[in-house]
């Protein structure tokens, strides 16, 4: 199963009968058994439920009523998305035994589409991290680089699962880069939709004005299929947009001729990894050769992204995480002396170091006397980020940038230096601040054999443009077909099919 095929290929085989849905899920579960001890991509494997869903899909195919492109497709679901009857831990001790009494809207939609859930995938605790090392259930390892590197984060479990063939695709969440950065570091496609494109109902809240659920897939075509299934207005999420959802597969073969693609100069900075810069610039040049017009643009507030984000996201997090008090759900410290002691010890024992750090930062930024200097100031700078993008998109259809300034780093390398860890998110945070959609597609390998991602960003609700550019990029390159054993499946030469 290391040569797991994309959803749209599996679909053809399932429809033609050359592949059986039960056999597909069994093969994935066997592969999970074989490689999980090394990679630790799942917090909970739901084998029994997966077998039942696969049997239902096989039955639908046998009766000729399997109409959804996701029918029988095995998926990994990030463990901060609520699944009825299946524990949803957010990779935290405080939710270790939390079993949601309801399904997130995205789960209801996937079930209606006949998809198979293989399990709940590992993540940084409460999605706070960029390496999937802060999980209460241990770090996930990157399938690339002999399992010596982090898979990125916070959706490192979903990304590694897709990369290693432990699911055909996955759902993750992205608050400051948590889909795109791990996608780039594990050589898969990751899409953060526009804020409000996908319902957040049932997504455990981290920073409510920034969080968004999105797909991690083997190629751009699959990202279109998975986004199609989960996008759209939800009356249960008052922040979801009532905006029509186009047919995302229609744009995949349109090419980029006539498109204006902006290259923001602030995203190519001194100190970024030279191999990353070279690969991203080569990718941009490939799109120019495919017919796009490149435009030099400026997003002048980019250097302030990390400071702005870590004030706003942590302020929201400190409020959202106030609910973990040991009363209604989750962990409670043993034998509390009184109510205050119960709160203090429940949270002290239930949260890990990174979550505590962020609650502290957020509480401080919101506290009396500091609110204006930190929180309000960051909200004002957030307005400037929105204006930066509005100006840029007046001149171009989409933006091309790196995803992360570096490839995957070694396990443990940045754990003792939180600020260094935060700086890894500088190129992905601005899109969350502005609420716009962005895509990561594989665009190269370092000499150490680690994947590199190219980011495409578009105006609000223009995921179709991301998919159009991404699909064109895949049609002229082979990087999305590379597999973690370092052996390309169809790659020729330097990845450009030369």
């Amino acid at each position: 199963m290391s040569s797991m095929r994309p959803i749209h290929v599996l679909r053809e085989q399932l429809v033609s009968g050359t592949l059986n849905a039960v056999a597909l899920t069994e093969a994935v579960l066997q592969h999970v058994d074989a490689v999980e001890p090394e990679l630790n991509t799942y917090v909970t494997v739901t084998a029994e439920q997966a077998r039942q869903q696969a049997a239902e899909a096989a039955d639908a195919f046998a009766r000729g009523v399997a109409r959804s492109p996701l029918q029988g497709i095995p998926l990994a679901i990030k463990d901060n998305i609520c699944t009825k009857g299946v524990r949803t831990t957010c990779a935290s001790r405080i939710l270790e035994r939390f079993v949601p009494p309801y399904d997130a809207t995205v789960m209801q939609r996937l079930q209606a589409a006949g998809a198979v859930m293989i399990g709940k995938a590992n993540m940084d605790e409460f999605a706070m991290g960029s390496s999937t090392e802060t999980s209460h259930f241990g770090a996930t390892r990157n399938p690339w680089g002999h399992a010596e590197y982090v898979p990125g984060g916070s959706s490192g479990g979903p990304a590694a699962a897709v990369s290693a063939g432990l699911g055909a695709a996955a759902l993750g969440s992205d608050t400051g880069g948590s889909i795109r950065q791990p996608a780039a570091m594990t050589g898969v496609v990751g899409l953060k939709p526009t804020y409000g494109r996908v319902s957040r109902f049932g997504l455990v809240a981290f920073a409510s004005s920034l969080d968004q659920i999105g797909p991690l897939t083997q190629d751009v075509h699959d990202a279109a299929l998975l986004l199609q299934a989960i996008a759209g207005h939800d009356p249960n999420d008052s922040t979801s947009g009532d905006v029509a959802v186009p047919d995302y597969t229609e744009v995949l073969d349109r090419g980029v001729r006539g498109l204006k693609l902006g290259v923001p100069r602030e995203y190519f900075v001194a100190g970024m990894n030279a191999e990353v810069e070279a690969a991203v610039r080569a990718g941009i040049e490939a799109l120019r050769q495919a017919g796009a017009e490149l435009i030099d643009v400026s997003l002048p507030h980019t250097p302030y992204a990390v400071a702005t984000y870590y004030i706003l996201a942590n302020a929201e997090a400190s409020a959202n995480l106030a609910r973990y008090d040991g009363v209604r759900f989750g962990f409670r410290a043993a034998e509390p002396a009184d109510l205050s002691d119960m709160y203090m010890r429940t949270r002290a024992e239930g949260f890990g170091a990174e979550v505590k750090r962020r609650i502290m930062l957020g509480t401080y930024a919101l506290s009396s006397g500091y609110y204006d200097a930190y929180y309000k100031k960051a909200q004002q700078v957030r307005t400037l980020f929105r204006q930066d993008f509005q100006r840029a998109f007046a001149d171009c259809d989409a933006l091309l940038t790196p995803v992360s300034p570096t490839p995957a780093f070694r396990l443990g390398e940045r754990l003792d230096d939180p600020l260094q860890m935060y700086l890894a998110d500088i190129f992905t945070i601005p899109m969350n601040l502005a609420g716009i959609p962005a895509l990561s597609v594989p665009c190269g390998l370092t000499t150490d054999g680690l994947p590199i991602g190219l980011q495409v960003a578009a105006p609000p609700f223009r995921e179709d443009v991301l998919l159009q550019v991404g699909a064109t990029f895949e049609s002229i390159t082979d990087f999305h077909t590379l597999k973690p054993d370092g052996l390309p499946v169809t790659c020729k030469g330097d990845g450009y099919g030369l």
Binding site: D325, M360, S367
Partner: protein
């Protein structure tokens, strides 16, 4: 380490921890004081950005308040809410139909 630049003292860290109902041991408190000073020093760069007359953004898109139908037991989308039993099922301690907490009033 915070290169000696002190924005938040250890006493303030203890105060913020109390506000957040977060128990910290002495080691954690010292380490967090160092780390928060490093991070807050980095965040000071925001003061360089002129923001006079700039409206703060709390939310990226214009939102209007949404009201659901005034029916008990249903969500805005029409689906049923979890039963009382389901809502209590994750609680650390319950009695009859209540969450149990340590005594508050003597």
């Amino acid at each position: 380490m915070s290169d000696g630049h002190i924005i938040i003292s250890e006493e303030q860290v203890a105060h913020v921890a109390r506000l957040a109902r977060l128990g910290l041991d002495a080691d954690e408190q010292r380490r967090l004081t160092d780390q928060l000073n490093t991070i807050l020093t980095y965040m000071e760069q925001l003061s360089e950005v002129p923001t006079e007359d700039v409206e703060p953004t709390a939310h990226v898109f214009d939102l209007v308040n949404v009201y659901r139908a005034d029916e008990t037991g249903r969500r805005a989308g029409g689906t049923s809410l979890a039963s009382q039993e389901a809502a209590l099922s994750n609680a650390p301690e319950t009695e009859q139909h209540f969450f149990v907490v340590p005594r508050i009033v003597e």
